[in-house]
């Protein structure tokens, strides 16, 4: 059996374990519910407007904005929370359960296990973001239809292109979540208690949002992961405004490299005593 197919088998097992858990299926349902809730609430009130997030005002014009509003809202808590919970499960969860020692003596090389679990986290992040987007588009289409889309710059693009840009937005959101997942994986490798890892990772994301909202701290804002997360809205300008997205991707890459390296360094030397 080739090394690649053996690795794919382990990756499949990781995904199957995470997606098979009732708790995670419930979490995915919650992620899907929020865009539906937005669509229903706006449809019932009969108007967008108000002081909501950028996209809410445009929702009644086009259902695709339900997906964008859903992503923007869920990035503040639900998506980071999902990443925190899943990354808490990776190492700390298996250590707490004791299954980590049995995986390691199979044997699975520690770096291989860690990196495979990280790839699984990235795929799960993608599934999370995609779920929000799909639930948004579907509920938005039903409530408001999907006519040609008026971009944030005022021009009009056809629905196929709008959906393509939404796919890019999902990919960009996934990149941001993947960076948070690297932080979560590192914390998970430090502890044997999954709750600690989950709370710490959620706490870090929340703290970054808070710091990002304090104008006096604007010096550090470019270094906060979440500062760049909402830049996916730039994909719906005409022409597409890429500065924010590019710097967001670079920062995400930096977080991934630093925290994955730290996680490997910690985990490859740690005594597994649980």
């Amino acid at each position: 059996m080739s090394a690649v197919s053996a690795w794919v088998r382990l990756l499949g097992s990781e995904l199957w374990l995470a997606l098979g858990r009732r708790r995670n299926q419930f979490g995915l349902a919650v992620l899907a519910a929020l865009p539906v809730l937005i669509a229903v609430a706006v449809a019932m009130s009969g108007s967008g407007g108000g002081g909501g997030p950028n996209f809410v005002g445009a929702i009644t014009d086009n259902g695709i904005f339900v997906a964008l509003a859903g992503l923007a809202m869920e990035l503040t808590l639900f998506l980071p929370l999902a990443v925190a919970v899943l990354s808490g499960d990776t190492i700390a969860g298996e250590a707490g359960l004791g299954t980590l020692r049995y995986l390691l003596i199979v044997p699975v090389a520690r770096t291989r296990l860690l990196l495979t679990k990280y790839v699984a986290l990235v795929i799960e992040s993608l599934i999370g973001a995609l779920t929000v987007a799909v639930a948004g588009v579907v509920s938005g289409a039903i409530a408001f239809g999907l006519p040609p889309m008026t971009t944030l710059s005022g021009s009009t693009i056809g629905m196929p292109e709008a959906l393509g840009r939404l796919a890019l937005a999902v990919a960009y959101v996934t990149a941001g979540l993947a960076a948070l997942a690297a932080v979560g994986l590192f914390i998970s490798a430090l502890t044997e208690q999954p709750i600690v890892a989950m709370v710490a990772t959620t706490g870090i994301a929340t703290l970054m949002w808070i710091l990002d909202s304090i104008p006096q701290l604007d010096v550090i804002h470019p270094w906060l992961l979440v500062h760049h997360w909402t830049a996916f809205g730039d994909l719906f300008r005409d022409p597409v405004f890429t500065d924010g997205i590019v710097s967001g991707l670079w920062l995400a890459l930096g977080y991934v490299v630093v925290f994955l390296a730290a996680a490997v360094a910690v985990f490859s030397r740690r005594d597994v005593t649980s």
Binding site: L10, R21, V106, P107, R269
Partner: protein
């Protein structure tokens, strides 16, 4: 021309197979506490090695180091001739293990749990996965329970699933840490039978326990831990022979019998009911009887009482085996 007879080939030198487990000076410290203290384990191929010691004597920590889960503070380990933890991934595939109790995902069935471990094994053939999993489950008697969730397994079933995980692929060695812990006598007997039948297949087995009586019958070799030190190891027969016999004389002349025994150089002379007992040491029983009779002691009964393995271990560890600590 006389053909030169071919030189007689050197007698083939059978390469001495490396011991299944060999450690030198293996030491583990947690902070300033020395949990394992310079032990030299030697487990021959094909042995069933009973790794004994009270709870807290360092057995599990030693096993964690053997399996590359924890790094030794000092010392070297060779597993089947391969250094660990340096080249652990090369050799761990040949070793099945149960460490500090079974641990599986409670929401998955026994079968799904084993499938998960098999998927993690880069050398396992996925095409034969299902068959190997079912065979391992059948081997430990979990065939009927294979589709039940782990959460509803009894403790004995959990232990057996742990052993089944060690049997997913062909192994040369099994390391079983306290496989009978928490089991009722019936469960203990089943695990013992399983160990016996696996040993018959030629596997080297290291089995740890804090209860000598639970594993004594299946072991060929024993190693005894006390407070992080390996205080004795060897074939079980040698250890049994190392135990001293005691002289036991039933007589009414207690005082005189005791004096004569002391005079012969027997140690630890004691009065026990109607008998006088003493350590036999190097004394031959016939000489002792002659001396007693010669000294005018009315001997009603004379015997040499061999000490049990349990006695040997109590003397080695300084405490009973069922002492928790």
């Amino acid at each position: 021309m006389v053909p030169v007879p071919p030189a007689a080939p050197d007698p083939p030198v059978a390469p001495v197979p490396p011991a299944a487990i060999a450690t030198r000076g293996l030491t583990k410290e947690f902070g300033r506490r020395r949990v394992v203290d310079a032990i030299d384990l030697s487990v021959p191929r094909g042995a069933v090695y009973g790794f004994l010691g009270p709870n807290g004597s360092g057995k599990t920590t030693t096993i964690r180091m053997l399996l590359g889960l924890a790094r030794p503070t000092a010392g070297v380990i060779e597993l089947l001739g391969v250094p660990v933890p340096g080249r652990a991934p090369e050799v761990l595939g040949r070793v099945g293990a149960l460490v500090e109790g079974p641990a599986f995902h409670p929401q998955l069935t026994g079968r799904a749990n084993l499938a998960r471990l098999d998927a993690a094994d880069a050398h396992a053939d996925p095409a034969t996965s299902a068959a190997r999993i079912d065979a391992a489950l059948a081997r430990v008697g979990l065939g009927p329970a294979r589709d039940k969730r782990y959460r509803v397994y009894s403790l004995g079933m959990k232990q057996r699933l742990g052993i089944a995980a060690g049997l997913l692929v062909r192994r040369d060695m099994l390391i079983l840490d306290e496989p009978t812990n928490g089991l009722d006598p019936q469960g203990t007997r089943e695990v013992r039978h399983l160990i016996g039948s696996l040993a018959d297949d030629g596997l080297t087995i290291l089995v740890s326990s804090h209860l000598l009586s639970e594993i004594e019958q299946v072991c060929t070799h024993l190693g005894v831990m006390r407070q992080g030190r390996l205080v004795a190891q060897g074939p079980i027969g040698e250890l049994r022979a190392a135990g001293r016999s005691r002289i036991r004389v039933v007589t009414v002349d207690h005082g005189r019998a005791a004096d004569i025994l002391t005079g012969l150089g027997a140690g630890d002379v004691r009065h026990e009911g109607t008998a006088v007992t003493a350590d036999a040491g190097e004394l031959a029983p016939e000489d002792v009887v002659a001396a007693l009779v010669h000294g005018g002691v009315g001997v009603r009964e004379f015997g040499m009482v061999a000490s049990t393995l349990e006695d040997v271990f109590v003397s080695l560890t300084g405490e009973g085996f069922d002492v928790s600590g």
